[in-house]
């Protein structure tokens, strides 16, 4: 074959357009826009937030679809074509420097997002996400509206739950620090409340707990556990001051089970996130011991009822005494 200008130009265009027809034309003609079970249109405020999401390049760090092999946030729902109807543009994303956001709505209450957008390190100390404080409060509110809508109807279900518990938690907080802790503890299932930490608070465990605390908790609960981290200024109710827990031990001795449950499950409605996706059992028990030893001055580790010790445990004796009855 000889490449004449005619062959070159006409041939190149023919092959190209044939391919374009298959790859872009056919899908355009055959892909039906059918809303999925969770689909709903976006409100005006959410649309504004979506535009900010596009304009500020959130998509270079966040994806918007869940795959079958995902475990992180949103993994409860694998993406379906009908989730995206009418959104323009829907930027699926190609990089996960941060987590997928397709089901972000209702993961956190609005005040968490305010603190997080102001400076992501406030809520997530090792985050690589930029601060968006410069956008100003109004745009941060729009962005929040958008991320709270991610997941659409599924998100609405979750945000409604956040709002409901936000009301309860705020009322409890307004009733004073002691009433607040009593209320929070009354929400923990009965079986967890009288459960001591089954694992020793030895030096290694406390060191692991400390590392975890620095990576996840420190900018809310503060380096001394008084709840005065930099995020506190944005959150209501503010992060718990652990030092007050000394007077709220269950039967004046148990706290490990409550810690475990709260860290695993979070306190929906407050900024306290759940950590069950980030941290598994050992890490949570280590954290519970760390909080106890450093901020409450007491841990119930290894006290009765204790069952058979795990095979790795050494002969560790709990040296911590519960506070004297009635002491403040």
């Amino acid at each position: 074959m000889k490449m004449t200008p005619g062959v070159l130009i006409i041939g190149a265009l023919l092959v190209f357009w044939a391919s374009a027809f298959i790859i872009a034309g056919l899908p355009a003609a055959t892909m039906k826009e059918k809303p999925s079970d969770i689909w709903r249109p976006l409100t005006a405020e959410e649309e504004a937030g979506h535009r900010l999401y596009v304009a500020n390049g959130c998509s270079y760090c966040h994806s918007l679809f869940i795959r079958i092999n995902d475990w992180d946030i949103g993994a409860e729902r694998i993406a379906q074509a009908g989730d995206y109807v009418g959104q323009e543009p829907i930027i699926l994303g190609s990089e996960r420097t941060g987590p997928d956001l397709s089901q972000e709505g209702g993961e956190h209450p609005d005040d968490w997002h305010l603190a997080h957008f102001t400076n992501p390190r406030y809520t997530s100390p090792i985050s690589l996400m930029p601060s968006w404080e410069f956008l100003g409060r109004q745009e941060v509110r729009q962005l929040t509206a958008y991320v709270q809508a991610l997941g659409l109807k599924a998100a609405d279900y979750r945000t409604a739950r956040q709002k409901y518990w936000k009301q309860q938690a705020s009322a409890a907080y307004a009733a004073g620090p002691d009433a607040n802790v009593e209320w929070i503890h009354s929400q923990v299932p009965e079986v967890w409340r009288r459960m001591p930490n089954p694992y020793p608070a030895d030096a290694a465990a406390l060191a692991r707990g400390k590392r975890m605390y620095q990576d996840f908790c420190v900018n809310c609960h503060g380096p001394i556990g008084d709840g005065q981290g930099p995020a506190a200024a944005y959150l209501y109710p503010p992060p718990l001051n652990f030092t007050t827990l000394r007077r709220h031990l269950v039967e004046n001795r148990y706290i490990g089970g409550i810690f475990y449950y709260q860290i695993m499950n979070g306190i929906t409605g407050t900024a306290m996130p759940y950590f069950k996706k980030h941290l598994e059992s050992e890490k949570i028990w280590d954290l519970a011991n760390y909080l106890g030893v450093y901020f409450v001055g007491y841990t119930d580790a290894n006290i009765e009822p204790r069952g058979i010790d795990a095979a790795y445990e050494g002969p560790w004796q709990n040296p911590y005494q519960p506070p004297a009855k009635g002491a403040k």
Binding site: I23, M31, S63, A79, Q80, A81, V85, P89
Partner: protein
Amino acid sequence: MPNALQKPQSAATAFMLAGAGWFVVGALYGMVSAIHLVAPEFFSNIPWLVFGRERPIHVNTMLYGFTGTMLIGCGLYYVPALLKTRLWSEPLAWVCFVLWNLTILSGPVCFSFGYTQGREYSEYVWAADLMLMVAVVLAIYNMVMTVAQRNESQLYVSVWYFFGAMLWTACNYPIGNVMWHPKTGAMPGLIDSIFLWFWGHNLPGLLITPLATGAAYYVIPRVARMPLNSHTLSLLGFWFLVALYTHIGGHHVLQSPIPNWLKTVSVVDSVSMVFPVSIVVINLWMTARGVGRRVWGDPAGRLVMGGIVWYLVTCIQGPLQSLPYLQRVTHFNNWTIGHAHIAMLGFGGYIALGAMWHILPLVTGRSVYSNKLVNLQFGLITFGLTGFFLDLTAVGLIQGSAWNNGETVYRVLPELAPFMITRAGLGIFILTGALVGFYNAVMTVLGGRRLAAEELQRAEEPV
């Protein structure tokens, strides 16, 4: 009309110099992006220097600005040279130059303030899309007229590739950028991802690849002083390229809910890409067989050959990461960033630089200011890029396997740190390479030794 705009080959020179300049700009933005992935509080809360805005500036400036611009500059020289004629209209090429570079300038100017369409590789705002389109159409017109007045009946393979690149881009760009929706530049719903990645893959595949391949086909036989190994092979490679590359955009959204038949087509064709790629690589290496020392010994030839080596690496990696099972681990993380850099800098960038150093003396009549500096640039970039590749591939595997085994993105962040620091460190080498190259190119044009008439004639001699 000012004389400068009529001066033969002045537009080609301008394109090449602009490319060298954009390389520096893009590297600066790359450095800041890399630093932000180490220390997000560095330059915090500066609206025009926030990661989500600076990253697309880096990427677009590198792709369109550095590799694209420099390779177009080379083409504006070698197409007429191969046709034994002059560029049909130098002023028209200058108009093309201004529009093309305004488009690239719109990146830093617009993205910094949030004016972007936000779809990866299609971020330029609509007005800039228009400028780019006009520039490409003008280039095609100029080329067609140049072909019409040619004095050489054969069209050499480089001419096809340059033509192809421009023609395909003229068709591709408006589709992928959904230019009939000026406000968003996007289709509503999931179908948009198919349009987006149609261009997203054709930008490397049908713009950068043919431009770079064309340039390599021009430089290698000349540096080797050997005739091209096989014209038939180059013909096959050309048609395979356009037939296969256009089908594979789906591999970017392979795990999303797009139709299964599209995924199948994209995977099959991605794997088939080994054919056109091997053809190019084999054809060029066979051309240089026996005279490898001559090619590797020539500063410009070395860069082009290096580019072909990177092409091979890229295109071994590419089909592998298109396989759905492997992509569960390699997708969404720095593995892909590694691939993108060896593809765009290793393949596109090396060949662009090599071709520029080969062609600059031919268009300016001056010898390259310093061949030592060309070698230094090769060394700096090769060290930086090899490091990038190893570093990003390793950290990508760490991320991908951790996620696949149930770790959260947040938990893996601390493990990125040493790799992100290394990448930023290596970036300094590439940035220095860009600066050295820019200085060398400007000095060549301003103060390179004037080549004597017979030297120039010898240099221009076809093989």
